[in-house]
Amino acid sequence: MKTFKKTYRINAEPADIYSALTNPYTIELWTGYKAVMSEEPGSEFSLWEGDISGKNLEFIKDKKVVQEWYFGDQNENSIVSITIKPDNGNSVISVEHTNIPDDEYDGIAEGWDEYYFGAIKTFFNPNF
């Protein structure tokens, strides 16, 4: 099992980043796929039409999201903690993702960079 840790800086307010992580209608814009998401701890979530799914554990509005991500039948829970901090009008986002199966680590790391926060950054900083 491996742990992924990384910090991203995005030109957007923490409230907008938080919304991009929790509002299903905003998620659908940056992912391009139907999302199931709510801010209710204990609720199930589904992104990219189920490619990523799990359970929501904790929310602190505009500051923190904690989720359990499902990886088949593994014994240890894979926990994602995302914290958002303001920094001169931007957001600094720290991600810690624990207990990633070894054979899935590279794909997950690439996913965080490209498909997750890469896509959110592109969404909030468009070229038009």
Partner: protein
């Protein structure tokens, strides 16, 4: 099965769609409430390479997809990178992330509308993805997978609530707002003038036309 196809793949096919066939397709449109427009209409897709295509278009507010109809089938438009602007009837759309938003006049502050349709169903046992029988009636709801909503034909329990989310594109980024407080936070230097304009013109944030008027005013300051 998800009906999704690369926009680029069907570019040539677009040219074959005739106005007559779109007229025929209009009459067979099912569940029109899931669309922004009551019927598919010929719109213009302006590509970033300068080409312009006429396509039979609509916008699905539930899936938040620009969709096009070809030979009676509805496809999601997915090639966001190469599309500049989509013009459909009186509205213009621009790619935002992996979806589209309606764009008003460009300015220092450009206002965009995110059109959404919230599916609301009465709470029932096995409401999602299953069938339940209540009071001798059978309810079928399969709303959780993207285009599956197309198959919710004639479901008496299906309610789609239309909403518009507001976004502002400033010089370098997109920001979301719903009310005066959030708008003022985006434009703190204009706080007093915005508040006075809202008061004098009785601007209501639940009316997109009012919000257009407000942002047009902000662009004159």
């Amino acid at each position: 099965m998800k009906k999704e196809i690369s926009f680029a793949v069907v570019l040539i096919s677009f040219l074959l769609i005739t106005v007559d066939s779109s007229a025929q397709e209009k009459s067979t449109l099912l569940n029109p409430e899931q669309y922004l427009f009551p019927a598919f209409n010929t719109g213009k897709v302006g590509m970033k390479n300068g080409r312009e295509l006429k396509v039979n278009l609509n916008y699905n507010i539930v899936t938040e997809k620009m969709v096009f109809m070809q030979k009676g089938l509805i496809y999601d438009m997915t090639d966001f990178a190469n599309v500049d602007t989509v013009t459909l009837l009186d509205k213009k759309f621009i790619a935002a992330g992996k979806g589209f938003m309606e764009i008003t006049d460009k300015g220092k502050y450009t206002l965009l509308f995110q059109h959404i349709g919230k599916i609301e169903t009465p709470p029932r046992p096995a409401a999602y993805g299953g069938t339940s029988e209540v009071s001798n009636s059978t309810y079928i709801n399969n709303v959780k997978i993207g285009n599956e909503v197309y198959r919710l034909q004639n479901d008496p329990d299906l309610v789609i609530k239309r909403e518009v989310f507001y976004w502002i594109k400033t010089s370098d980024r997109l920001e979301n707002f719903l009310n005066e407080k959030q708008l003022v936070k985006i434009m703190p230097d204009l706080k007093d003038k915005i508040r006075l304009f809202i008061k004098q013109n009785k601007i209501k944030f639940d009316d997109p036309q009012n919000v257009i008027k407000l942002i047009n005013y902000c662009n004159t300051l």
